[in-house]
Symmetry: none
Subunit: 366 residues, 2 copies
């Protein structure tokens, strides 16, 4: 997921100032891309070589931005996680803190009022906005509604308020991660659908994971043909996607082609299918990442890199693919490193602690 | 308690998928058991040798699953702790985090609304459900009741809601730990009784500790003859159990036989009597574990391994016994290790930090 972010966000963010118009950012990106292509092309070609197994380390070196003292806060990445509800608070934290651990400058979380104090308590590094609402909460928060019954009008009012809170920030973000710990409250998911439309309006790239995939699987048009959308399903989430979109079962014997068809069917969004070997496709090419890794399957690894943000000047036509490859490679390296230290007791937090060392090992900051 | 979990959960969990039917899981287990028995039998016989002191390390090696990169999240264990109220939040945390530190993939806590934010804040690794209700809380949460007074009907409504929240998850769990930090609120305990019935309906194994034992001692039929129930009383909890079930006092001179009679009297549930030497019986055999250990008696050690989850392919007819032996041995080793590091200042958290190293020392992950 990380690298998906990386490159996706790179599409819009590479020279971002806060605040600056998406259009301007995109123009600047194109210019830098052309300049950059001269220096990065050889590496890149190697990375995208015809072998289906990608050269993850080479891609990571390609997409990781050089640190520049002349830059100011925000230029190395401003991301927002949309997730965190009454039940789930760990997932959005893992996504948001991973972004910072990988080099992002600012990491926001938009969650429900219940989840906010808890997520804040995990780390003072995050900016947490308690703006989302769950059905059960609306009636508690609103005596009028409690007595009069929950009207459609009331519902719309609350919804508009939620969207308004996200709207005023949206333009500043370089990438969203939608879904970690989102839960499945119908009212909440309705709001998140509108947040996706908002992101598309501003051309803000987004990665969809966890409960965000539950939403998208039921309303595939939310992401259809949006080139800046990346889906990162695990085994079960992928199964539901295949059943819903391709009307068939997962075909392990033909995994690559099936993934390509799925991505193509959804209009060329990029999909990272997580597994023992990660498979990545945008409907055209298919790449795999199987280096490193750990046998531990503790919950949270799926979120761990959602928040990762890199800057890339990649001239590739499929930056999202590069993003996925780098994300997959880095998570796997960090997980492997954490496992050597903690063995069976390895937890997601231990893997996050290894992100920096793993990245430094692949592409030293100086 | 750990090992009880281990083996108990193993009964249903060894090849569990999320979600998958208990029946399927149990069938899969039986198959794996048969396959495994060939390789594990020699070790096992040694472990179950006629000496009353068990070979805890050998049992641990027997019940600890080998890590398999082909597995996906959840297959190494999904457990849930039922506990955590307005007063107590540490105990359920210790139980749930220990499960993860010992190799489980997912660890849930079902607690009261007051306890949830606190338990969540201890660690982003846990999934905490704020669903239990205490008497004092019900009227606060319900305006109608506040105005009309608390009726039996209202009480039932709230109870049904609580059970419903647990019901929708129950089938996914491989083992429950019922009791850590539960408190003694009558309404809450009434709900927990129904949760036990629910677990039995789904054939989900459960370990009963702390205030769960207070509940069970007063309503012994809740666990009578349930083969997947494990009780883990400390000195005082054991004393009450003996008085209630055997109508006599604890007979230290005849501890083993008395424990056997107690377990037999409750229909063959497994009991781990915690003490300087841990005694374990299922109404037939009696085993003891006295290796390692620490002179520190800081609160929380009783909870520390409740959450532990292992996978075992044990062909034994008494996996719960093996579970108890392994749990007892591992906790004692971790406690001993923590004491060498922290001496008088050793806390339960320090012991949890030593679980991974202790387990690795006994059966290396790779």
């Amino acid at each position: 997921m990380l690298v998906k972010h990386c490159v996706i966000s790179a599409l819009t963010r590479s020279t971002s100032h806060s605040p600056s118009s998406t259009v301007l950012r995109r123009q600047q990106f194109l210019v830098r891309t052309l300049c950059a292509s001269r220096t990065h092309l050889p590496k890149l070609i190697k990375a995208m070589s015809s072998t289906s197994e990608a050269d993850a380390e080479s891609v990571l070196r390609t997409v990781t931005p050089t640190l520049d003292p002349k830059r100011h806060k925000g230029q190395a990445g401003k991301i927002a996680v949309i997730g965190g509800c009454r039940e789930y608070t760990g997932a959005p934290y893992f996504a948001a803190i991973s972004a910072l651990r990988i080099g992002a400058d600012l990491s926001h979380v938009f969650c429900t009022k219940d989840a906010a104090p808890v997520i804040k308590s995990y780390s003072p590094e995050l900016i947490v906005h308690p703006v989302l609402e769950e059905s059960y909460n609306i009636s508690l928060h609103n005596l009028y509604v409690l007595l009069s019954g929950f009207s459609e009008e009331e519902k719309r009012k609350v919804q508009d308020k939620v969207i308004g809170e996200v709207d005023k920030w949206m333009e500043r973000f370089d990438c969203l991660v939608i879904g970690p710990g989102l839960g499945r409250d119908p009212f909440l998911l309705e709001c998140v659908s509108k947040i996706m439309l908002l992101a598309k309006k501003f051309n803000v790239p987004f990665v969809v994971d966890g409960d965000g995939l539950f939403l998208v699987t039921d309303s595939i048009d939310l992401v259809r043909s949006y080139p800046l959308a990346v889906l990162t399903p695990n085994v079960n989430e992928y199964k539901r996607l295949v059943q819903k979109v391709l009307n068939c079962e997962v075909d392990e014997g033909n995994a690559g082609d099936q993934l390509r068809s799925l991505a193509k069917q959804i209009g060329g969004v990029t999909i990272l299918r997580k597994g023992k070997t990660d498979l990545i496709s945008n409907g055209e090419i298919v790449k795999s990442v199987s280096v490193y890794g750990s046998p531990r399957r503790c919950g949270g690894q799926g979120d761990i890199l959602s928040g990762g943000v890199f800057e890339t000047f990649s001239p590739s036509e499929s930056p999202a693919i590069l993003g996925c490859i780098a994300a997959s490679g880095l998570l796997r390296k960090a997980a492997a490193l954490a496992f050597t230290k903690h063995k069976r007791s390895t937890l997601t937090s231990d893997i996050i602690e290894c992100l920096g060392e793993s990245l430094e090992d692949i592409c030293p900051a100086s």
